[in-house]
């Protein structure tokens, strides 16, 4: 399903002037606070009427100034707000079924049970919102949006009001959602770990404008990406190949093999891993007798000095990697484009299991 957005809107000193088209199943709208991300969500949901603009979801035109404006209640785009916005006078169950009761096509009982199951809401149904923790509220808000059977799910920093512990409690639910349903999602966030875990595609917004856009694999590892793009680091999808007798798990990816500490997933499972730029060292010769489990032969695609460090773009098979080293190291090694090097991987972060 495609999402087409073109907006021109002025609010005091702030000018929103942007356009993007995405076909990703999970698209992240990434940018600092105050960049205008929530306004974009509001415009897509129909809660804001732009001065000028066009918004279409799956080819269905929802906003086209000056004539077309489908009201929010007819858009079938469910929003998960940062502050959950549960109805305080209803039990959790009635909150969950609020959108379901009004949906033209209703999810069946099995689907309701499934959503309640994956979000672990079974024990909360009789509770009132003020008796819920922040994490529980976020889960109920997510379930309520899902059960409305929307054509697209708009998530407006659903985890931003939660502390780190709560966030890591909810992220797996979102991950399962991204994996198990084929519902298109637009996910607003300024947290790179959330984006790397969930998104297929990233749209970077700064000061009301789109500054970069691309698949998560390319953009997060692109040394040429403009400032404001999340901290660099390769994101790659790998497949569990084998569980070795020495306790390590072999992950195959387009470019080689990564060894990670035992991963309790059957062979064939797709996982997503992150190699942060800071976690890749470079060596001109293949290092031996080294504690690192992963040494990947690569070629240098580009070198970009940024302040007192240097970002080195690497190609490893069909995969784009990036290493951040000091300027001094780059000079000492006399790195050049096209050169063959070895990337020593200090740490692999498994971003999404399965």
């Amino acid at each position: 399903m495609s999402l087409e957005v073109a907006l021109k809107h002025r609010l005091g000193d702030f000018v929103l002037d942007l356009a993007f088209v995405t076909k990703g199943r999970v698209t992240a709208l990434f940018g600092p606070s105050g960049a205008g991300k929530s306004r974009v969500i509001a415009a897509i949901a129909g809660l804001m009427r732009p001065r000028q603009g066009r918004i279409a979801v799956g080819g269905r035109v929802l906003t086209e100034t000056p004539k077309t404006f489908v009201p929010p209640e007819a858009r079938r785009l469910a929003v998960v707000f940062q502050d959950a916005r549960l109805f305080p006078h209803m039990e959790v169950e009635d909150n969950l079924l609020f959108g379901w009761r009004r949906a033209p096509v209703k999810a069946d009982a099995a689907r309701i049970a499934h959503v309640i199951g994956i979000l672990d809401l079974g024990g909360l149904l009789r509770r009132r919102p003020h008796d819920l923790s922040g994490g529980e509220k976020a889960r109920v808000a997510l379930g309520r949006a899902l059960l409305a059977s929307p054509e697209m799910l708009l998530l407006d920093e659903p985890l931003a009001s939660l502390d780190a512990a709560r966030r890591s409690e909810i992220l797996p639910y979102l991950e399962r959602l991204a994996r198990e349903t084929d519902l298109p999602m637009l996910y607003v966030s300024h947290q790179v770990d959330e984006v790397a875990r969930l998104a297929d595609e990233i749209v970077v917004i700064e000061k009301g404008r789109v500054t970069a856009q691309g698949p998560v694999f390319d953009l997060l590892a692109d040394v040429e990406a403009p400032v404001g793009v999340p901290p660099l680091g390769a994101v790659l999808d790998a497949t569990v190949a084998e569980h070795q007798a020495d306790g390590l798990t072999r992950l195959a990816f387009d470019g080689g093999v990564l060894l990670v500490p035992s991963l309790a997933r059957p062979a064939g499972t797709k996982v997503r891993v992150r190699l942060r730029a800071e976690d890749l060292m470079l060596a001109l010769e293949e290092p031996r007798a080294i504690s690192a489990n992963n040494v990947l032969p690569c070629s240098i695609a580009a070198i970009k000095p940024v302040g007192d460090h240097v970002d080195v773009q690497l190609r490893c098979g069909g995969t784009r990697l990036v290493s951040r080293i000091t300027g001094a190291s780059a000079t000492r090694l006399q790195l050049a484009s096209g050169q063959q090097v070895y990337a020593v991987v200090k740490a692999v972060t498994v971003a999404r299991e399965g």
Binding site: A45, G46, L47, P71, P72, E73, A74, R75, R76, L77, A78, V79, F81, D83, R85, F87, P88, H89, F98, G99, R102, A103, P129, H130, R144, A145, A148
Partner: protein, 228 residues
């Protein structure tokens, strides 16, 4: 209990008072909700004027309100004459006229309480309901009014209590007729006019105080019990 304490005539005044107040509050309630929705949710030119007009009965001398009612709804008043000819409805010298006067006087109290409750509810909840498919009427019935319910109930109770004490507008508009328009305050007044009526007046005063305390306390209790 009442029959032992109060004479049959006094009991009649008490029951009539409760009846007039109940009808006044119930009849004014839907209009109060509409007016509160209008002033709480919309910024329109003339909003200040509308607000001032709504509050007028609260600050105007009740006698003046009664007189204006007489001019408009009296037997020869434009509305009064029309109602009598078309429908045979008459407000003057009737308990329904007393209810009309009470409704008008206590209308601002209801509007105010409902408006405050509406303004205190989070507009974001309405937005959330919209994105979940709820239209205007739907949201009014399932989100807006239920969330404002404590305000609506406390406004109604306060208006009821205030209506029990209404004197000037009623006596001016519908006169002081025992069994028809003589509510508690009018009965107290009548008793004080008669020689040796102090005891009756004192008894009715005690009844008024008890009623006022009960309803004002109830109103406060409900107002405090907000959702969340």
């Amino acid at each position: 209990m009442m029959t032992g304490f109060l004479s049959p005539a006094e009991t009649t005044a008490l029951i009539l008072s409760l009846q007039v107040s109940a009808v006044a509050v119930a009849a004014a309630l839907p209009f109060a909700v509409l007016m509160a929705l209008l002033v709480a949710r919309h910024r329109f030119p003339g909003a200040g004027v509308v607000d001032a007009v709504v509050h007028l009965p609260l600050v105007l001398p009740p006698v003046a309100v009664g007189y204006l009612l007489l001019v408009v709804f009296g037997g020869r008043g434009p509305v009064g004459a029309w109602l009598w000819e078309m429908f045979g409805i008459r407000f003057v010298f009737s308990w329904t006229g007393a209810a009309l006067a009470s409704a008008l006087i206590t209308f601002p109290l209801q509007v105010r309480a409902i408006r405050l409750a509406l303004e205190a509810t989070d507009a974001g909840l309405g937005e959330a309901a919209r994105t979940l498919g709820a239209g205007w009427w739907d949201r009014l019935c399932t989100i807006t009014l239920p969330l404002a319910l404590p305000g609506i109930v406390s406004g109604a109770i306060t208006a009821f209590a205030a209506s029990l004490g209404e004197f000037g507008a009623i006596i001016t508009f519908v006169s002081n007729i025992p069994g028809e328009t003589q509510t508690l305050p009018l009965a107290i007044y009548a008793a004080l006019q008669a020689p040796g009526g102090e005891v009756v007046a004192a008894r009715l005063c005690i009844v008024s105080i008890v009623l006022a305390l009960v309803f004002v306390t109830a109103g406060n209790l409900v107002a405090r019990r907000l959702w969340r």
